[in-house]
C-alpha cells in the first residue's frame, strides 16, 4: 500500500520537481543578477567616492603646498626685514645712543600694548569647547549661547579667547548672521571651536556648572569640552582703526 502510494507520489512530484527546479533556477538567476548589479553599483559608488576624495586630497595638498611656500617665503622676507632693522638700530646705537634708547623704550611699550590688546599670538593651557548644530537634533547654536559661554569663561579668569580663530578683543561682537555667526566682522560657521587660555580646571568647572551648559545639553547639540596644555591663540587680524579723541 504504502509502496504504491509512494509510486504515484513520485510521479506527481516528478513533474512538480521540474517546475520546482525551473522556479528555483529563475529565482537564482534573478537573485544573481540583482546581487551582481548591486555589487557593481556599490563598487561604482565606492569608487566614485574614493575618486572624489582623492581629487579633494590632491586639491588640498596643492593648496597646502602653495600656502607652505608662501609662509616660508614670507618668513624669509620677515627675517630679512628683521636683519635690516637690527642693522639700522645697531648703527643708530653707535651714532646716537640717547635716541636709540628712546626708540627702544617705545618699541618695548608697543610690544607690551600689543599683548594687552590681543594683537599678538599667545599660548598656554586652557580649554577648548566645541559646539555643533549639524547633528540630528535640529537645534541651533545661537549667538546668545556663545556670548554666555564667553562670559562664563571670562568669569573663570580666561586671559585670551578665540572662536574659530577669531580673537576676542575689546570690541568683538558675537552676533547671528543668517546660518552663521559674525565675530570681528568675520562670518563663522559651525562647528564652533572656542579656545580659551587660563586655569584649565577653573575654566572647565565653570563651563560645566553653568546654566548655558545645561541648556546646550538639553538641546541635544553636539558639544565637547577638553582641557589642553598647549593652546595657541592667534592675534586679532582686523583693522585697528579706533577713534582716539583725547
Amino acid at each position: 500500500m504504502s509502496g504504491k502510494n509512494g509510486g504515484t507520489e513520485a510521479r506527481k512530484t516528478g513533474s512538480g520537481k521540474k517546475i520546482y527546479y525551473a522556479a528555483l533556477f529563475v529565482i537564482f538567476v534573478v537573485l544573481g543578477a540583482l546581487v551582481a548589479g548591486k555589487t557593481v553599483h556599490s563598487r561604482r559608488v565606492a569608487k566614485a567616492r574614493e575618486e572624489e576624495n582623492q581629487a579633494l586630497i590632491e586639491q588640498y595638498t596643492l593648496e597646502m603646498e602653495e600656502l607652505s611656500e608662501s609662509v616660508s617665503s614670507l618668513r624669509g622676507e620677515l627675517a630679512q626685514t628683521e636683519d635690516r632693522y637690527t642693522e639700522v638700530l645697531a648703527r643708530l646705537k653707535e651714532t646716537d645712543k640717547d635716541f636709540y634708547n628712546v626708540l627702544n623704550m617705545y618699541s618695548r611699550d608697543i610690544e607690551a600694548g600689543r599683548l594687552l590688546a590681543g594683537l599678538t599670538s599667545v599660548s598656554g593651557s586652557g580649554v577648548i569647547i566645541k559646539l555643533d548644530d549639524s547633528g540630528m537634533g535640529g537645534a541651533l547654536v545661537h549667538d546668545t549661547y556663545l556670548n554666555e559661554i564667553l562670559n562664563v569663561l571670562k568669569e573663570a579668569g580666561a586671559q585670551a579667547i578665540s572662536i574659530n580663530g577669531e580673537r576676542i578683543v575689546t570690541g568683538s561682537e558675537v552676533i547671528c548672521l543668517g546660518p552663521s555667526i559674525r565675530v570681528n566682522g568675520v562670518r563663522l560657521f559651525a562647528p564652533y571651536r572656542i579656545s580659551a587660555v587660563g586655569d584649565p580646571d577653573a575654566l572647565l568647572k565653570a563651563y560645566q556648572e553653568s546654566r548655558i551648559y545645561k541648556t546646550i545639553v538639553s538641546q541635544n547639540l553636539l558639544y565637547d569640552a577638553q582641557r589642553s596644555d598647549n593652546i595657541l591663540i592667534g592675534p586679532y587680524t582686523g583693522k585697528v582703526e579706533r577713534v582716539s579723541e583725547q
Binding site: S2, G6, G7, E9, T13, G14, G16, L24, F28, L31, G32, K38, A46, N53, I57, Y60, V71, L74, E77, L78, T81, E82, Y85, L92, Y106, G113, L115, L116, A117, G118, L119, T120, G124, D132, G135, T144, N147, N151, K154, E155, Q159, G165, T170, S172, E173, V174, R182, R193, G198, R211, L222, S228, I231, L232, P235, E241, R242, V243, S244, E245
Partner: protein, 350 residues
Amino acid sequence: MTDLDDKDFDKIADSAAETGREVQASGESAGDALKAILGSGSETGNERTAAPVSAPENVDAAGTEAKDVDAAGTDADNGPSPSESIVAAWKRRIFQSRDGSYGNTEGYAPASSRSRTSGAVVRNVLLTVLCIVIGIVAALQYKTIASRKSAEPDSEARINELLSTINNLHSELNSLEAERNELKSRLEILESSTQDEQLAALREELNSIRTFAGLTTVKGHGVHVRVDFSERTNVNLVQTRLLLLINELRASGAQAISINGVRILAMTEVRVVNEQYISVSARQLAPPYDIYAIGDATDLYNGLKMGGYGIVDQINELAGASCELYVQEEITISAAEDSDIRTDLLKPAQ
C-alpha cells in the same frame, strides 16, 4: 593640538557615514553567499541525475527527496524559523526512506537501501562542503569589508587633516603678513624720517594700540543707556540682558563702552554674585546702571532699538525694570588700567 580636536569633532559625523557603508557592504556579502548557493545548487542537481541510473529505486528516493525539499521550502516560508523547518525536513526524509525500504522489500531491498544510505552520505558531505564554502566566502567578504572600512576613512581623515593644516597655514600667513608690514613701516620710518617724525610715529602707534585695548581715555559722540531694576527683577535676567546690551553695542560699532564708570574690555565679565547683585570687572555695581558707548550715534541708537523690538524693549519688558536710551554729543570714557588686563598665564607664541 587644535587640529586634532577638530578631527574628533568630525569623527561623529564620519562614524555615521561608516555605518551606512557597512550596511551596504554586508548586503554585498549576503549576495555573494547566495551566488555560492546558486553554484552548488547545480552541483547537487548533477549528483541527483547520476544516481537514478545505477538504482531505479533511487528515482523514488530522489522524488521523495525533492518533495522533502519542497516541503522544507514551504516550511521555511511559513514556519516559525528556518532551522526548525530544516530539522523537520530531515526528520521526514529519514522516516520516508525507511518507509520506502519497507515498500520495496522484494529482491533489491538490501542493495537499494545501501545505495540510498550512501546517497544520503554524499548529500551530507556535499551539504557540509557547501556550508564550508559559504562560510569561507562570507569570511572573505567580511575581510574585504574590514579592509575597505579601514581604507575609506583614511582618505577622509587625510582630508580633515589637510583642511586643518590649511586653516593653520592661513592664520600663520595672516599673522606673518601683519608682522612684516608693521616691521616694514617701522623700518621705513627709521630710515627716512627725522628723529622728531620718528618719535611722533611711534607715539601714534603706541596710542592707537592702547586705545584699541581700552587703555586710554576717549571722547566722542555716542549713546547713554540708563537701565534700572528693582528688587522684583530676577537678577539672572538682568545679567543676560546686560550681556545682550553690551554685545549689541559692539555689533553696532561701539569703540568704547563703560558701565557705571567701569570700562568694558575684551575679558570683562558680567557676574551675578550670590543671586543678589551684579559685578563687572570684579566691581560691585548698584542700580541704576549708566552705560555709555562711543561710536556712530545713529548706528548705536538703531542697533539698540532694532526696528521696535530691540534690547531696550526687551529690558523694559522685565518685571520691575526700565531702560532709557539717549543720544549724547559729548561722552568721555575713562581709561582702564594696565593691571585690569591680566596676561600672567599667556606665553608669547611664534
